[in-house]
């Protein structure tokens, strides 16, 4: 890395819990090295310094939920050479995208006394639905090691080592015992992307999909396995409609189950 021009880093926040950007501050061992390798030009959670763009690398956390944010992301894209989205909110709309399956007006009046003050969109959408995204880092929250890997890869101009295979692979690499086969615990690991280190199975619980769907996810087959293990349709529906409920593969599966549960809601079925 030449000292003459350190790449400028910016960290942006949209609707989110802050956990993903906090992961950067949680990299206690690497934080000062990151600060040495990049110029942290905009990162309000960590610094009062707020330098203008353009930025070489923008990390974007959170989903788009307001008209103002929909405009703000356009402006951020314009000043960012590389734009990387971090976390389930930014890559799939996050948990707040559960509103996408319901009537948002009912939501606002339920939560706020004066819904008129609230300026919100009907849907919570991932960043990639609004602007071109150069790389998506999944997870709720993202994994610290993967974040450092993405930054290193960016600095070294290589492809980040972020595999798209199942959680099962990580589980087996860690030589953990499969909770689905050995404990009869329903698990989303076989359709969920690796990255967390197969945490849940390591703690004897089933994966709940916080890294979103893996490549070629066979959601109907895993739903069938859950059924055979005694899970109710409602449970399976909720399992897909969780933290990454709005990601394509999980959404399609939950809608399929919903249609089966409530055929009358479907205008196409008499």
């Amino acid at each position: 890395m030449s000292d003459t021009h350190k790449p400028k880093l910016a960290v942006w926040k949209f609707a989110s819990c802050d956990g993903c950007q906090l992961s950067l501050l949680d990299c206690e061992d690497e934080l000062l090295a990151v600060a040495g390798a990049v110029d942290i030009a905009y990162f309000p959670e960590a610094t009062r310094r707020m330098d203008g763009g353009p930025y070489d690398l923008s990390l974007v956390e959170g989903s788009i939920t307001t008209p103002h944010d929909a405009e703000r992301i356009q402006a951020i894209r314009k000043v960012s050479k590389t734009l990387v989205t971090i976390g389930a909110c930014a890559t799939s709309g996050g948990i707040q995208a559960l509103r996408n399956f319901r009537d948002v007006k009912a939501f606002t009046s339920l939560v706020y006394a004066h819904p008129a003050y609230i300026d919100t969109l009907a849907q919570s959408t991932p960043i990639a639905e609004h602007v071109k995204v150069d790389f998506e880092l999944r997870g709720c929250p993202i994994n610290k090691a993967q974040l450092v890997e993405v930054i290193s890869a960016f600095l070294n101009q290589r492809k980040p080592l972020v595999p798209h295979h199942s959680v099962c692979v990580e589980c087996k690499l860690k030589e953990q015992v499969c909770v689905m086969v050995a404990h009869q615990t329903p698990c989303l690991g076989p359709v969920t992307q690796a990255g967390c280190g197969a945490l849940c199975p390591g703690f004897a619980r089933g994966c709940y999909g916080c890294f979103g769907p893996k490549e070629s996810p066979n959601t109907s087959s895993i739903a069938q396995q859950w059924r055979e293990m005694g899970a109710s349709e409602q449970q399976i529906l909720q399992a897909f409609r969780g933290i990454n409920g709005y990601s394509e593969a999980f959404r399609v599966e939950s809608e399929r189950i919903e249609k089966r549960l409530h055929p009358s809601d479907d205008p196409k079925t008499p």
Partner: protein, 280 residues
């Protein structure tokens, strides 16, 4: 269990880039020399190495130099994706890692005493060049020698001076065609397969070597069958995802074959069944 190789097969040896020659807009040729003096790399035409770009990654690249000229290692590379694009940014003096050579060779001995048809498409000329050097050095061992070369456009033609020199020497019948002609192009426009129609050959004493995209190799082989060349005398060079080049990683399997250790060069009957299959 024999003694352990030194260095181990998965450990690159450091080489320095001596020269970089830009061949076309996205193809360049490197001349590499070992960082450690006297560390040369003997190879046979058709073999490849694994080139490691520090911190970026490793890719298989065929050797395109002269096997009998001692010394430097020559590679012609197209900037395709992450690693090769980063390679294009490198300059003379920079270091890369080299493992190899790996793989088998073109059947240059089998071809002795025969007509030789070398059919290449695009960058396929690079892996074929060591064979051409060999033939030129030992021209008397071969009968008619054709180089049929299809490029996308005239500006994509690799090694134009050398092609001219080979052609002018009269030792090799060089025929070139392009997919898309441009101003000033007076040569052929069309596919390599079209060139096969016009050549003179003795089908019973002919060996052909083909290198290019799979679809091109498939149709070229078919055109050669029409000229009654037996499938076992047709050889192709295959490409698959490759991680180790040593036969450990399993990525490069094509049906029952490993490209890295059984290939990359195969005679047609061996690979035929798999060339036609669409895996998807």
């Amino acid at each position: 269990m024999g003694p352990i190789e030194q260095p181990r097969p998965m450990t690159p040896r450091p080489f320095r880039i001596e020269t970089v020659k830009q061949e076309t807009s996205n193809v360049f040729t490197w001349t590499l020399r070992a960082q450690k003096e006297g560390d040369t790399l003997a190879f046979q035409p058709g073999q490849f190495t694994m080139l490691y770009l520090f911190g970026v990654g490793e890719v298989p690249i065929s050797i395109s130099g002269d096997a009998e000229a001692s010394g430097d290692l020559i590679h012609t590379i197209r900037a395709a994706g992450t690693v090769t694009q980063a390679m294009q940014q490198k300059q003379a003096g920079d270091l890369v890692g080299v493992r190899g050579p790996f793989g088998n060779a073109w059947p240059i001995e089998e071809a002795e005493g025969c007509d030789v048809v070398l059919a290449v498409g695009g960058l396929g000329l690079a892996p074929m060049r060591p064979t051409l050097y060999h033939i030129l050095r030992h021209r008397e061992r071969y009968k008619r020698v054709y180089l049929l070369y299809g490029a996308r456009t005239p500006s994509d033609i690799l090694y134009p001076e050398e092609l001219r020199a080979w052609s002018d020497s009269g030792k090799i019948d060089v025929r070139i065609t392009v997919d898309v002609g441009m101003d000033g192009w007076t040569g052929e426009v069309g596919l390599v397969t079209d060139l096969i129609r016009d050549i003179q050959l003795d089908p019973y004493h002919c060996v052909s070597m083909i290198c290019g995209p799979e679809i091109m190799m498939h149709f070229t082989a078919r055109a050669l069958f029409h000229r009654r060349i037996a499938p076992q005398h047709i050889h192709v060079s295959m490409e698959r995802s490759m991680r180790c080049a040593t036969g450990w990683c399993g990525h490069c399997q094509l049906g029952p074959k490993f490209i890295c250790k059984d290939g990359p060069v195969f005679d047609y009957p061996t690979i035929q069944a798999w060339l036609h299959k669409r895996e998807r």
